[in-house]
Symmetry: C2
Subunit: 751 residues, 2 copies
């Protein structure tokens, strides 16, 4: 692909800013043309801009700067090379960045072989860059377990391709990845294999091993290896002694000479890596890239949109972000065999249960069923379902045991092929068996308190977040138990689902509102008023995790009716939400009022107006965010993408509705596109049409669901899962639509 | 070695039985000649009869019968082949049995290639057997990470050597090993590598991988591989797809043609396995065997003995058993790198802390220091020190966190090079952080109870054993804390060391004795009398683990003074011990009275007479066991050898003293040999001379320690660790020696 051709289509976006990268409609087939891999790579987005197919294990991209970045890529700093494993949109200590390759010229400087870059660009299926230190040019593309490197060399008698097995991403000050060992073996003048073994990183996971097998289309003139800081020219292998090892191929190249390399990776063996390389049977870069784009279009073309081109770029890039993770490692499990699907890099389910997984359920339910099966299989073999998992190991738990909600979401939406009895057992393990020393790894921390006192006391970290989230997770358990006919279990957990109330302190008043979640000691005493505040929070050891009590006190997704009562009724609750979205607290770049656009604990908050039939306020706040906080720039995602979480939030709302995860309920917000056609997996079609849509006509004036007038602000998954139509008519002012309609269900309605 | 020459030395042993195997003194050098690898392989001994050097990672031997045996070997059944990893003297589900090789003729029958055996024999450093199905003959020898196979074939055009990576030992009904995956690659007509990955087994450990690299001295005519049940002639590799794989070399052999193979193994990679193979640089079987014997003699020759030849066979074979495990896997850790020693196959420390490790401390203190360092390193990296560990993973905890006692034992005996501050942290982790769901894997189960109530309530399994053992472990913590100057920690744990008293039920009377450990509920109520009995127990879920309350109620190694008080004073305590050793309860093949000779919870009980100055009774019971329960037959160990535990018990007592682990105290019992010279690591010599010694003169009439008369029945490690002399004079009747002497110390004397 000629990037200069691509670039001729650049246009000015509606907001007047110069978008980083907008491709013309005729360069890539299908909706792949709308994906810009560089949206969200800067700011707090942490998006991976390298090459990868949906759920691909191979995430091939550059490792930059100090190699501390989560995605490998960094705005500044040299490129060290191109490694084959990454995560996208994540925070905390960096993970992966294994098996690093680089084309260079001249003497190999092991101490620092990195190069400044030039002409760095990417489209879906292709990343390219020039390495100015060496005069080499790189293009990368990839399938799910195999990558393709195209290196173009200058004229040089000392051209080399290096394979560094000692390199990995490593944030130095916390959650650091550490090399455990590495090994390399040159098999011929054009093939090499080996592995790197690394532990730690964000989830503080146990050691994982990335094996590789690589082959070049050009025989090397000579080869060499290294161990530690010593080069061994002509020596073809270095065994694992816990040190850094690597290998290199030497070439004498003519100006512009192209050397292609194919690389298979595996988490179980070099032999499997070699087998995985068979995914690529050609030496044509373009053929491989076309296959990668084709795999993406199978996802992206599930949605057809009519609307602004820039909104399509936002939408399809968001959809692309959602399908980057979790990683499908089926057939690549070094820990057990079971015949079940094997997904990894849940990073974290605390983020993705809210919108990403409900999106999978809507668009690709078979994939979501496989993901849930993988979670249950992890429970069977590792003891607990993960809240997060990476490098084949559980950790870290953020708040609740939110896998529970995925299982409830699956059963209420009728996902097939899941052993729900085992799922319930996995949920009950979370709810009843303390993980002990592993509280940040899996299960529920503070469980002894929660199960005896009815709340997590302030003796435990994240006590309020845990209490509120456990309540919601307990509702999920009750939901599944009831559907499996286990009424006694259901009753027990419906009761526990009210536990959030045990930390509700009626005596706290803030900004004119009374009653908030408040830390409580084991003896039942609330902390004194001067010891805490409802306006700040966050961090692992705070009572509220990545949130603060004012926000958390709005988080009872399963029992809004009771929450509204606790807040003093509908009017006072509405006023509380108004305060939440208008009182300017904290950095307003990442907030709207107190609302943290960038942060999962508030994901549901804008649609809470629906629970007091003020859907017009939902529409106003959502459209504000969609238009002004999501952009097509490198910092275009309002916060860490969190494995596509921010992106999934965009997708649902831009279609006009948003899920309350764990329930079969969608809440109507405000659609962006004139028309959206969703091709469901069952062959049916869901069509969303929006009349009188514009940037100003953001209020819903009427809705028809499957041809019938809808006078409430929500509907059920079953209403659309068999296909159907959703017809909006919009206007510039609130219309009173649905203001007398049946409220979305709360726990008392659902039991 | 010619086995017929060996056999000419067979003689009748003192007891009139035909010993299985007694070698003449001139066949093997040094004390190696006294080791009979077949002692303890039958009955409940579970000893491994294959080849291995001290702490060797390579334990090469046959896998027999249904492959359910713990040691691989079995009395009955065919031989499937010779695998490279085993454990010795263990119970429960079988572990290891990886990378299995076999020489065969004719067509390879994958479904069952096992063969009946003939002429099976072993001496130290060599195992040999004939495979009658194929007419092949096998000799095996091994160094620490590399094994040597000598195969002799008949005349055959279809001779083969097979490498089975799908085989492992697997007890079917519990703690079963399961194959996770395997891979094989034939590298040339005489070399092959691959791995087998297995999870489960006794400790229910996570997956471990055994890599191998093998080379033959004879090029194969052709090669082949298999996957699952399908053979692939001429195909040189099978990648890991979770199935069983293997490879074979084909030869056309002349009658009596010898084919030698060398095999390196590794737990981290094939490259490391190949590196490990460099231990063997010869194709001479005899040279390798001589090296193995030499390594053993470095241990065995540390003790010179004068006495009965049969007793020497018992002693040196016992010494050999002790040094089979733990396995030194330094440089072979796939989970982390640290520069610390890495030992595995602690199987279990609950067994070995009592006598085996104190024996290491006496004979090879540098090894014991390395072992303790490895335990602390496991804490640093895996979170807890193990009570048991195998396949690089912790589990299962039997009773207390008895690693604590090893650290106390090390500090009181002055072992050098150990980070005792880190050791204390590791102990405090055991004592203060609940392992949650991992109660059978590591840490202390029932800890929330123990640390709030002062005892483990009957809500938890093994509640009485845990309470008693935790008390002893807490004493160990106090011991270390005090020596590190942490008086507050020491005080706290000295107090907790009395917690055993909280389960002492004064109201229980049995066999005329009153006051026993008794299950107690959380609310402080003892179980009613009709719900439990002091005479039976055992099993994971019983209040007493592998013991019963009458026996456990004698187990307070650190505070005998208080225990004797609780039992009603010295006289009543003596009577209680008398009852214990005479009242016939249970199967008397494994018991003396109620005393379970075969079982660790009673290891210390015979010397408890010393604590009431009735050392004569100690002597009588110990000599009875040494003479009558330990034999030179295949079933010559009175119970599971438990990684040399039974054997270490023999060794100490046969030298005339026995350690109270965690204290620097040896209790005098009754020596067997006329003279024992111990060559200590520091170059000094400890000499034990015994005058008037005979089978009947079992009572101590006087003792001189370092030339001075010793009028008490115990001495300290420091008294002998710098070398010295211990001079016994024996007699046929109790002499009253030491009956007024200073009693061995109890907690109140030691603080």
């Amino acid at each position: 692909m000629n990037f200069s051709i691509l670039r001729k289509g650049i246009m000015t976006c509606a907001l007047g800013c110069m978008p980083l990268f907008v491709v013309t409609a005729d360069v890539l087939p299908g909706n792949a043309r709308y994906v810009d891999p560089f949206i969200g790579v800067e700011g707090d987005g942490n998006v991976f801009p390298g090459v990868c197919v949906p759920f691909g294990m191979m995430k091939l991209g550059p490792d930059c700067g100090n190699k501390e970045s989560n995605s490998g890529w960094d705005t500044n700093g040299n490129i060290h090379g191109f490694s084959h494993t990454h995560v996208s949109g994540t925070g905390g200590g960096s993970k992966y960045g294994n098996v690093l390759m680089l084309p260079l010229t001249g003497e190999l400087q092991l101490k620092d072989y990195s190069s400044p870059r030039a002409n760095e660009e990417a489209v879906l299926g292709e990343y390219k860059v020039d390495l100015s230190r060496y005069g080499t040019k790189v293009r990368l593309t990839a399938l799910s377990k195999a990558g393709f490197h195209e290196y173009v060399f200058p004229e040089s008698k000392e051209s080399k391709v290096i394979f560094d097995l000692g390199s990995c991403l490593a944030l130095q000050w916390c959650e650091t990845q550490r090399l455990v060992g590495s090994e390399v073996r040159v098999l011929s003048d054009s093939s090499v294999e080996g592995y790197t073994r690394v532990k730690g990183g964000w989830n503080e996971g146990e050691a994982y091993t990335v094996y590789f097998y690589a082959e070049a289309d050009t025989p090397a003139d000579s080869i060499g290896t290294w161990k530690g800081t010593q080069l061994f020219p002509g020596v073809n292998a270095q065994f694992d002694s816990g040190e850094k090892t690597g290998a290199y191929f030497c070439y004498s190249t003519a100006e512009g000479q192209k050397i292609n390399l194919r690389v298979g990776i595996s988490y179980i063996s070099c032999g499997k890596a070699r087998e995985n390389l068979r995914q690529i049977t050609t030496w044509s870069f373009d053929e491989v890239r076309a296959q990668a784009v084709d795999e993406w279009n199978k996802i992206l073309n599930k949605v057809e949109l009519s609307g602004e081109e820039e909104d399509k770029v936002k939408f399809y890039t968001a959809l692309y972000h959602c399908y980057l993770q979790p990683t499908d490692k089926t057939g690549e499990n070094p820990k057990w065999t079971s015949g079940e699907p094997n997904f990894d890099d849940y990073y974290a389910i605390w983020d993705t249960f809210r919108a990403t997984h409900p999106l999978f359920t809507l668009l690709t339910p078979s994939v979501q069923a496989n993901i849930v099966r993988s979670l249950i299989d992890i429970y069977r073999n590792d003891g607990y379902m993960p809240d997060a998992r990476s490098g084949n190991d559980n950790g870290r738990v953020q708040g609740g045991s939110n896998c529970d909600i995925l299982i409830a979401d699956a059963i209420v939406k009728g996902l097939q092929g899941i052993d729900y009895e085992a799922g319930l057992q996995a949920m009950l393990k979370n709810a009843e068996v303390s993980p002990g020393d592993n509280e940040r790894k899996e299960g529920r921390g503070g469980l002894p308190d929660y199960n005896t006192l009815g709340y997590v006391s302030s003796a435990f970290e994240r006590c309020l977040t845990r209490t509120f989230e456990y309540s919601n997770c307990d509702f999920a358990i009750a939901t599944v138990a009831e559907r499996l006919g286990k009424q006694d279990v259901a009753e027990k957990y419906y009761r526990k689902a009210s536990n959030w109330q045990n930390t509700w302190n009626e005596k706290i008043t803030a900004l004119g509102h009374t009653g908030f979640a408040w830390p409580k000691e084991r003896n039942g005493n609330f902390w004194p008023e001067d010891r805490y505040t409802v306006l700040t929070g966050g961090g692992w050891e705070n009572p509220t995790y990545e949130t603060f009590s004012f926000e958390l006190s709005l988080y009872v997704p399963h029992d809004m009716k009771e929450l509204i009562k606790k807040c003093g009724g509908e009017e006072k609750f509405t006023a509380r939400l108004d305060t939440f979205f208008t009182h300017k607290e904290g950095d307003q770049r990442w907030r709207i009022g107190m609302f943290q656009v960038s942060n999962e604990p508030g994901f549901l908050t804008p649609v809470l107006y629906n629970y007091v039939n003020r859907q017009d306020k939902t529409a106003a706040i959502v459209r504000n965010i969609l238009e002004n906080r999501y952009k097509t720039t490198r910092d275009g995602i309002p916060g860490n993408d969190d494995s596509g979480s921010m992106s999934a939030w965009y997708i649902f709302h831009s279609l006009g509705f948003y899920p309350n995860a764990g329930q079969d309920v969608y809440l109507i917000s405000s659609p962006v596109f004139d028309k959206a056609t969703l091709h469901l997996e069952n062959g049916k079609t869901l069509t969303v049409t929006v009349k009188k849509n514009s940037d100003k006509n953001i209020y819903v004036h009427s809705v028809k669901l499957n041809g019938k007038s809808l006078d409430k602000n929500w509907f059920r998954h079953a209403d659309i899962s068999g296909g159907g139509t959703l017809e909006f008519v919009m206007g510039s002012k609130p219309s009173g639509w649905s203001s007398d309609g049946e409220l979305p269900p709360s726990m008392s309605d659902m039991r």
